[in-house]
Structure formats: C-alpha cells, structure tokens
Amino acid sequence: MNIHIDAAELNAAREQANSMPLDKIDVSDPSLYANDTLWPYFERLRREDPVHFAENERFGKFWSVTKFRDIMSVDTNHQVFSSEAGGISIAERPAEFTLPMFIAMDPPKHTPQRLTASPIVAPANLARLEGLIRTRVAEIFDKLPVGETFNWVDRVSIELTTQMLATLFDFPFEERRKLTYWSDIATTFPEPGAMVETFEDKKAILLDCLQNFTKLWNERVNAPPAPDLISMLAHSPATRNMPPFEYLGNLMLLIVGGNDTTRNSLSGGVLFMNQNRGEWQKLRDNPALTPSAVSEIIRYQTPLAHMRRTALADATVDGKQIKKGDKVVMWYISGNRDDEEIERPNEFIVDRKNPRHHIAFGFGIHRCVGNRLAELQLKIVWEEILKRRMDIEVVGKVERVLSNFVHGYTSLPVRVTPNAY
C-alpha cells in the first residue's frame, strides 16, 4: 500500500517551511493542498506568526488567521468582519455574474434568508429523512464490486451526496448528476482549461439550471405543501415572491454547501481509517463510537480549508493591526490542528474526549446550517459499513483537489471486502 508514500515529500516541505524567511510563507498556494504539504507551513505560522500577512499575484494582499481562538474571534465579530463586502473565499468574486447567496450576506439581509433554508435541515425533517438515506446507502453498498479496484470518490462519495441532494429537493432521481454538474459549474472560476471557460458559458448553464428549477417550482406551487425544499420555498409566505435569481442562489447554496463538503468527508474517513488501523479496529470493536468518529473525521478532514471576511473598520487580531478594507482569511484547516485548543491535534483519534469541539463548521451567525445533516449522512454510512463488516482498503495513489478552499480528493482507489471481521 502506498498511502504513506508522501512522507519524503512532507519531510522536504517541513525543512523548507522551517528554513524559509517567515514573510515569504504563502499558505494560499493551491499546490500545497494538492500534494498535502500544507501542514508544516501552518505549524510555523501558528508558532511564530499566527496572524500573518502575505501578498501574491493571484489573491492580492491578505491576512491569514491560523489559531483556533483567533479564528473564533473573527468569526463571531460579524459587525466588523463582513461576509458581504468581499465574499467568503480568498479569490475575488467576479463582478460579471454572482448569484445572491446568504452565506455571502451580512445582517439584516442574511437573517430572513437563512431562516427560510433552515427548516429543511431541522431535526424534525432529518428524522423523516433518516430512513430514506439509509435505504439509499444500502443500495449503493450492496452493488459495490467485490475484489475489484474502484474509485471510492466517484462510486460512493459523489453518488451518495448527489442522491441526498436529489432527495432534499425531490429532484427527478434519474437526472440527479445534473445537480453535481451545476454545483461544479457554480463554483468554477471561468478560465481557459477550466470546466467552463467564459462567463457567458457559465451564465448560460446556470440559466438552464434556473429553468429546470422554475419548472419544479411551478409544479410544486400548485400541489399541496410537501417537505422538500422547493415546495417549502414555494409555499412559505416569506419566500413565495422571491426574485428568480435569489431563488436560484438559495438552491445553489444548499447544493454547493452540501456537495463537496460531505463528499470529501466520506472519502477522508476511509483514508484516515487506512492510515490509522488501530483506530479502525477501535471503531469495529465498539460501533457506539460512530458519532464521535464522525466528528473526528470532519475535524481531521476540514472539507472547507478557509472562509474569508473583509474588515469594515480598523481592528486588532492577536496584536496585529487590521485596516478597514483588508482581506482576512480564517484557516479552519489550521485552527483544527492548533495544540493550544485540541490535544494531540495531528493524531486521528476516534474516541476523543470532546470530539465536537472543532472549527470545521465555523462559528457565529454563519455557522454551517447543514451540520446536522452532514453528521447524519456520515453516521449512517459508517453504521452501514460496520453492519456489513466491510473492510475498505486503499490500494492506489490518492489524488487531491488543487484548491485552497475545497479540501478534498479526486481519486481514492479502494478494494472492499464484506464480512471481513
């Protein structure tokens, strides 16, 4: 197995991270994420310069906030650190075409929009969904090829998250991969070589998406209220008259929010159990640890590496003077490895004392609205794996996404054996 093959690369990165001039460290370089060498750079920043200034051609000037407590203080100070002024990612928003989404709004606009989306993922609705999710997980698992190498990312992680989205929206099941496609398009910055190359093309695809959803809206608005998101939006007095692009923005946010994040946690968990066979054994011996293992997987993966804010006023963070207008990046991926907040943070431990205390969902008024749904999906998946006594062995090269925002995998070759223990 070659899951430890990157050790040499990581050692080289550590040497470089510790010897280069501090002010040259730039944690926004996407290749650090693709080759999994980001860790020593963040270690050095947390130790020597926890609120770090950098500048580069692609992302301009920005502050990196790297420690758990400092991130929390930025996250909870939404009066000063705005999600609306410059968006939520380190990359600048294209002025040409941006859908309105409440993740990138400040109060008062943020408040009513978040409130319309939250019932879909509230406990009552989740309880209703649990059985259906389990059935779909079971169907996918029962069809997995045994003794054959396949890509877990595509066959399980993407398939499952896509099915979940189709369920939430009551979207035509056979056409469900459209959802993943639209989500990928919505998060792609058009440039040559990318999935979509121009803003015109991107807009055309999203308009097609809007047409699909408008059709569903029209069907649902004339039918009795149902517990899917589209019906909820069509029948709720607060959203019935929502302008089309706001409607699309809300839908897209739920698709995007629940897509890459859950997908990559599903893949990450399998990888971590392979890298830590002792922890895998612990979980097999004691399936009651599943909820705790799920939180640990989410912490260890941190599927969204950062969120960005823009300062609306001068402020101080951990002694550094932030000026009005500055771009401030909260690196959740680093906060989750901060040993002043989390004991032995670089270890994957399925029975931690306080596993829910991590920062992967953010904190404050934008804290992930879908976190219970994400946890539920992961919990069901691991319960079904354990129920089948299935071993999942990583047997080939792990490939990662080239992005400093979506932290995840493109390829995870595995072989599964049911009834292995």
Partner: protein
Amino acid sequence: MSKVTYIQYDGVERVVDVPNGVSVMRGAVDNGVSGIDGDCGGECACATCHVYVDDAWLAKTGARTEMEQSMLEFADATKENSRLGCQIKMTEDLSGLVVRLPAGQH
C-alpha cells in the same frame, strides 16, 4: 454548589450539582446530560446549548445578550423562554433552576 434540573427531550429528569460561576451548559456536559452539545465551548458561537428556561425562573436568569439573540434567531424551535445554556452562570440565587432541552441536540 447549586442544583439544576435538566429535563431531557425524552422526559428523563436529571438533577445535577453545578458549582457557582459555572454555566448551565458546562454543568450538563460535565455530567453527561444528553441534549446539550456545547460545540464552541461556551463562547456563544454555536447555539448547540439551547435550553428552555422554566417560566418560574425566567426573571432570575436575566436577559439575552446581543450575540446570544443573534445566535438564537437561527436555532431550531426558539421560543420566548429560549436561552443559550453557556450564557447562564450559576449563582446561589439560581439554585433549583429548571431547564428543558429541545429535540435535535444530541
């Protein structure tokens, strides 16, 4: 020490001695009361410590802070007597406090 009665969503009552100065959230987490997560550790930043304060105790527990108000707006099933457990610190005066826990926290 002051007594707090936590009424879990399943109806089970748990009476716990909580040291004065310690929060209602911490009292639950440290004593394994199910229905309060306290993900953020008491920073008023996650709303996973949502409780309903028994009417008889509402006046004594005081008012929501501004941040607490914004967090509660987004919690599920918020009512007039909703508070964040981490924002209520125990005192002699609160001994005997009764809180109910919502559905949907673990």
